[in-house]
Amino acid sequence: MDLRFTDEELKFRDDVRAFFKDNLPPAIREKMKEGRHTSKDDLVQWTRILNKKGWAVSHWPKDYGGTGWTPVQQYIFLDELQQAPAPSPLPFGVSMVGPVIYTFGSDAQKKQFLPRIANLDDWWCQGFSEPGAGSDLASLKTTAKRDGDHYVINGQKTWTTLAQHADWIFLLARTDMAAKKQEGISFILVNMKTPGITVRPIVTIDGGAEVNEVFFDDVRVPLENRVGEENKGWDYAKFLLGNERVGIARVGVSKERLRRIRELASATTDHGRPLIELPRFREKLAAVEVELKALEMTQLRVVAAEAKRAKGKPDPASSILKIKGSEIQQVTTELLMEVVGPYALPYRQEHEEEKGWNEPPIGPDWASTIAPTYFNTRKVSIYGGSNEIQKNIIAKAILGL
């Protein structure tokens, strides 16, 4: 047992860090630091930089463009990426549909889609959630009825993140209406330009419109766009959700956030004294750092255990990462609220700047994203299996209750 990084791992970390330092475009880094949304162009640009280096789909099998890194190296890569802070490659392609395609897809699908995912030539979005389903994903109602060599899809998906930019959507639809809940579902790839698809943005409490409803009205999709067998889609979905755990704790994001809090609290004064000098504030910060350090160690334990597990079987311990990771992310946004104080109040429309709006900010120039970040971060304990669901998983799968 030696919990330190080996010399090789340290060298790897330095290389990764240096690459990010030299290659992450400063404008993107700035947006990430300030908690502003990156644009589609930003992500495309950055993904292509990574892809050129061979790092855009680092965790994929080597045959499909992966790196062959050890789990520890994957962890270091992600941690450094988040701390850079750089945007993560679009998960819907890289972490979700990509692995489904290379594991269950046809050769034609692999050939058509995988390289375009790695280079973000195709922007993917996820069509799982439906109104009224929530954590009970399998209660979905969207149907795909055969009509000759096509499926005809009808229904509605929701919480579809960044669908407004999407070229493709992968979705679950019922292909056997008579079957029981989890049976009779198929996994289908749909070109977003197909007639009959409507995307409607959902405005969230942070003022953003990152998520959407997607409506399907007699949308015709060739049968060959189904992945794997008909009516086996639930298995592929479970596989996909099991893969979603990578980086779920977002330790690097929280590290970067804590550094930023320290920086902003040094620049903010309370009765003439920098906030960072108040013992109570420092102790709150220290308390979060302790939780985060513990989480990082826990994550490394899960990573180490993962190396020994059967592939594709998610470790229920990763539910701990989701619970603690989201709690820590949320508490860091509360600390930011404490730092910004009354300047949480002014509301600045997203992208005002990009629309040519160039009046000076109200209060400190970093203030306008703080309250939206606090509001937006409430979602991290809801999506990807709410924390209540995670606790159910631990209770059942680990504690046997």
């Binding site: 929530g134 409490i205 309370d270 003439g272 109570r280 104080g341 209540e388």
Partner: protein, 379 residues
């Protein structure tokens, strides 16, 4: 000790509650918010008709003769309705400063106009560097003959956009953060040398950055030349009012959440059948009732003359309100799940308002520190 409202208070509550029920449905509110000013002038008129704008003023000046309890009744209802109109700025803040600092002449002139809905006020006090420190005023008021001339920048002036008249704090003496020498001045919003930049706030209300450059104030428009004790008193009254508003918002968030738990089905049952969610709803309820108790305490203590006793009590209330608002607000969003994150449901709007109330006049952490320094609450 008596928790019952008087007959008059009961009638007031009924009339405000009816207004909220009839005029402030979520869809109606959306249409008010679309106005340039961010609220509905016809509601303001209605406030005047209902006598709400006259509440805290003495009858001799055309007021209703109400006290903190009447304000609490109105603000709690407004919290439930998420009222957009600048009642807090005009009646609680502006009205408070006028009551405590104004001469009889000021009152005679201005209160009638406020009561009739013809005068809206805003309190231009905060500055870029002041954070929550009420004494941190750098704006200067220099004597120039019989007049004062104001020079400085005011920030985060609530409803500074729609106010007809500003009450501006400025130093007649001393340096930033000195307790002495902060004057209060009545300034027309359109006066020469006043420039205003308007913007919306996170909770859908409005505020302004206000620049004062060579603004002349005649002697008759000076409320006081030593205003900090009055500012502190009005801030305490304002916190009590905000506490009531927060309780109104929390009450609705809690009710909406319990309702959602009863109607939303998952895995074939109403999610309110899950004990973990039930208990979280109970935690919210307990936090809400503790907040309600402290809002009452703040209401009672805001009339206390001893500044130290009053400020301790008010700080305690602000701490409780802030903490409860987190428990209730975060719980409401979590129990609603994804839809709670959208602007399509009212619950998120309440959450945002309750969050913004925390950063007004000092957040929970700020007041906890203030209370810790001030000594014990336990008599």
């Amino acid at each position: 000790m008596d928790f019952d409202f008087t007959e008059e208070q009961r009638l007031l509550k009924e009339s405000v509650d009816r207004f909220i029920a009839d005029r402030y449905e979520f869809e109606q509110r959306k249409s008010f918010a679309k106005n340039e000013s961010g609220f509905a002038p016809e509601n303001w008129k209605q406030f005047a008709d209902l006598g709400l704008l006259a509440i805290p003023f003495a009858e001799e000046h055309g007021g209703f003769g109400g006290g903190p309890i009447e304000t609490m009744i109105v603000m709690e209802a407004f919290g439930r309705g998420l009222v957009l109109e600048p009642y807090f700025s005009t009646v609680v803040l502006g009205g408070g400063l006028l009551r405590h600092a104004g001469s009889d002449a000021h009152k005679s002139e201005l209160i009638a106009k406020i009561a009739s809905g013809d005068l809206r006020l805003a309190f231009a006090h905060g500055e870029r560097q002041s954070r929550y420190d009420l004494a941190d005023v750098e704006t200067r008021a220099k004597k120039s003959g019989a007049n004062y001339v104001l020079e400085g920048e005011k920030s985060l002036v609530l409803n500074g956009d729609s106010a007809d008249m500003l009450i501006v704090s400025a130093r007649v003496a001393g340096d930033a953060r000195d307790r002495k020498g902060i004057g209060l001045f009545l300034v027309d919003s359109n006066a020469k040398g006043v420039s205003r930049r308007f913007y919306p706030t996170q909770d859908g209300l409005r505020a302004a950055e206000i620049s004062l450059s060579g603004v002349e104030v005649p002697a008759g428009r000076v409320l006081t030349e030593d205003g900090l004790p009055i500012i502190e008193r009005v801030a305490d009254e304002a916190i009590a009012a905000l506490a009531a508003e927060a309780v109104g918002a929390m009450t609705e968030m809690h009710a909406l959440t319990v309702d959602y738990l009863k109607t939303r089905k998952q895995f074939g049952v109403a999610i309110g059948a899950f004990q973990a969610l039930q208990h979280r709803a109970v935690d919210m309820f307990v936090a809400l009732e503790q907040a309600r108790s402290m809002a009452m305490f703040a209401t009672m203590m805001s009339a206390e003359d001893d500044a130290e006793t009053r400020s301790r009590a008010i700080s305690a209330a602000k701490v409780q309100i802030g903490r409860s608002a987190k428990i209730v607000g975060q719980g409401a969003i979590q129990l609603h799940g994804g839809v709670g994150m959208t602007m399509e449901l009212k619950v998120g709007h309440y959450f945002k308002r309750a969050t913004m109330i925390d950063v007004m006049f000092g957040d929970a952490d700020y007041h906890l520190a203030r209370l810790a320094e001030a000594g014990s609450l336990v008599a």
